[in-house]
């Protein structure tokens, strides 16, 4: 079978089981769009900006575990996709982003819409390819999917010069079912000796902690992590990226850790004597001041990426491997031994943790006459029974969503944790919708973030994409304002968003439903109405308390044991 470059591309995507691609046409990809038009296996979602395409593909991927795929043109099409690439790269999300390039003969001539996207994207992709011949196209696509989805996942760019997709030039097509790369062989199993040492160390603990991150979700190992944690009876904390990898409703769950994590999880990290870190990378927002991080702990670290181990913090038992594989091995070792955790020590440890829990560090004023952002998220969680897919943007609303929505399953909490990309939430929710046509989905956002990719409301209209946008509107770039209050003596430099649009009119202009909610008593009714309206996108503009802060907080330079608690905490009933 002889096919053109464009035809080969779609045959390959079909073979990879790709059902949706998110993209935007342009000169360098016109041949590809013509081939797209003539096939049916792959459905194309036309976004309004290439950044939206990458975030939508990202949301699709995070909510399914499958790679997200984008198609954009050369030059500005490709550069617009860069923020999305960096977002996916920092959170290890598998994307395959196909960019058009000017014809090979014109590369390097400053041709119209030419840019070196290979050079530009290099630091924010797992790998990238400039396709050099039509004969190599199919193999390159195979390699791209292989690299994106295995080991520590990440985005891969395939840059295709226009002449390689010329419909008149055809070559025999063969898509390899497997690919071997001598330069890329990601780890799977950990070293058994290390696994045994890890189990020994865990069983010797008096004050153990399990610290699980996004790697548990990416490695599809939530079941194993939950089984191991329950077998041991140890407290579990999750990173922002790990939320949902251990059920939040479980009594062994002590909440998120880090800058805006619970008091109990951070205190327990500080006091623990053995720390099991799984699929987590000791990020600065998690550790706080690194010199004071886990001062008494002997650390076991399981990660598929060897460069994550001992990068920020020394580790006693490093295990490089796929988290599911390693946790299975640990469970097997545990089942072969008669040793069990020291139950007296564990009981004392739990007593200590419960005393920290009694501080109730997330508590807020439930009797306020103003809408509290925490209340909106808490109510939404209650009404959706913790089963919704929740995307977010970046800032205070993101932290409130992470603190107050209880995620019991992996892949339900979708946020830009590493790069912190404002504008992520709306297009990501759109991507989640294509993957989960019947699920309840909300984008928790703020009036600052949501405007960064608001043009995608138009895409949502075109494809009848319905979900709820919970806009926690305080008229401020809230997190910036909070830091300015705490560390710049309330000099609110450019954190006030003047001249906000009338969001209701705006979303109505895009063909959706808008509501303004400005009284706490109306929150539940509005949420119920929006949830019931299954086939419409609802934008709920909650006018919240403008100066609410996210508590507790580890400020810059402070350790886990030095959290700043809400000073009015004890006044709240």
């Amino acid at each position: 079978m002889e096919l053109s470059g464009g035809e080969i591309l779609f045959k390959c995507l079909e073979a990879e089981g790709v059902d949706y691609i998110f993209g935007y046409p342009g000169g360098a990809v016109l041949h590809i769009y013509d081939a797209l038009y003539q096939q049916e296996a792959v459905k194309h979602i036309l976004v309004r900006h290439e950044q939206g395409a990458t975030h939508a593909a990202d949301g699709y991927s995070r909510s399914t575990g499958k790679p997200g795929v984008c198609l954009v043109t050369s030059g500005p099409g490709a550069t617009n996709a860069v923020t999305g690439l960096a977002t996916a790269y920092t959170d290890s999300i598998p994307l395959v982003v196909i960019t058009g390039q000017v014809p090979q003969a014109m590369i390097g001539t400053d041709a119209f819409q030419e840019c070196d996207i290979i050079g530009i994207s290099r630091p924010c992709v797992k790998h990238n390819f400039l396709v050099d011949s039509l004969e190599n196209l199919a193999t390159t696509i195979k390699k791209a999917f292989h690299i994106a989805t295995t080991g520590r996942p990440g985005p891969v760019v395939i840059d295709i010069p226009k002449n390689l997709t010329d419909p008149k030039v055809k070559v025999p097509f063969h898509y390899p079912s497997e690919i071997e790369m001598r330069s890329y062989k990601p780890a799977t199993a950990g070293i058994m000796g290390d696994v045994r040492r890890a189990v020994d160390l865990l069983l010797s603990a008096k004050k153990p902690m399990i610290y699980a991150g996004g790697g548990v979700i990416l490695g599809e190992s939530s079941t194993q992590l939950t089984a191991l944690s329950r077998e041991l009876g140890y407290p579990v904390t999750n990173t922002l990226m790990g939320l949902g990898c251990y059920p939040a409703s479980d009594e062994q769950f002590v909440g998120m850790l880090g800058m805006h994590g619970t008091y109990e999880s951070n205190m327990a990290m500080h006091e623990c004597d053995v720390l099991l870190a799984v699929g987590a990378r000791f990020d600065d927002r998690v550790t706080g001041q690194i010199d004071t991080f886990c001062p008494y702990a002997r650390v076991i670290h399981i990660d598929v990426d060897p460069s994550n181990i001992a990068k920020n913090f020394p580790v006693e038992v490093p295990i490089v491997g796929n988290t599911a594989h390693v946790l299975d091995d640990m469970l097997a070792v545990l089942s072969e031994t008669n040793r069990r955790p020291d139950s007296d020590a564990l009981a004392q440890w739990w007593d200590q943790i419960k005393s920290w829990q009694s501080v109730d560090s997330y508590n807020y004023d439930r009797n306020s006459k103003l809408i509290k952002p925490q209340f909106v998220v808490e109510k939404y969680c209650e009404l959706t029974k913790g089963e919704a897919y929740v995307t977010s943007d970046v800032g205070q609303h993101q932290m409130f969503a992470a603190q107050f929505y209880r995620f019991d399953h992996p892949r339900r909490w979708i946020n830009s944790g590493g790069l912190g990309t404002m504008g992520f939430g709306l297009p990501a929710a759109m991507g989640v919708r294509f993957a989960h046509p019947d699920a309840e989905i909300a984008c928790v956002t703020g009036e600052g973030s949501v405007q960064m990719c608001i043009q995608e409301l138009s895409t949502c209209k075109q494809y009848d994409v319905a979900f709820n946008i919970l806009n926690l509107n305080n008229g401020y770039l809230g997190m910036v304002r909070q830091w300015q209050e705490f560390t710049y003596e309330s000099r609110y430099s450019n954190s006030y968003v003047d001249a906000l649009p009338d969001f209701t009119k705006l979303v109505e202009a895009y063909g959706h439903v808008g509501m303004v909610i400005d009284k706490p008593g109306d929150v539940e009714g509005a949420l119920r109405e929006a949830i019931a309206l299954k086939d419409r996108l609802c934008f709920l503009d909650f006018r919240i308390d403008t100066e609410e802060n996210v508590y507790p907080m580890i400020e810059q330079g402070k350790g886990h044991h030095q959290m700043r608690l809400n000073p009015r905490r004890s006044e709240f009933v």
């Binding site: 290979i118 630091p123 330069s183 890329y184 460069s307």
Partner: protein, 163 residues
Amino acid sequence: MRHIISLLIENESGALSRVAGLYSARGYNIESLTVAPTDDPSLSRMTIVTFGSDTVVEQIAKQTDKLIDVVRLVTYTESPHVERELMMVKLRAVGAQREEAHRLVSIFRAKIVDVTDSTYVVEVTGDSGKIDAFLAAVPSEQIIEVVRSGVVGIARGETALKV
């Protein structure tokens, strides 16, 4: 501390920039970097001299090894190895300077590879210390131009960096 990292990388366009980009992005030091194809034309061999604490160099090695195109990587710091660097130095060679240059060339087992009425080009091979020593021995006003290849290294004995 100074470390030598040697690696085999797929001989593809942009391979060098992947390595160089990684070092600048992560703030790693490069003292020298050499690259050339090997006996297998599909592979290039790269030698990087870097410096930093053991922890930093361990990270450098891991991050470099993580690049998809890197096939194999070794760090020579602690294992027995031979390292060499080649320098060509153009010297002012007039009158008594000519005789003095000859003496230095003999002491350092170097070679004169180009001669004019007023200049010599001297080729010096050795580890970086020897090359530094040669330069230190020549009066600075006599040095017209210096070009150094950067370090290449290879393990002693049976150990080999091969695919």
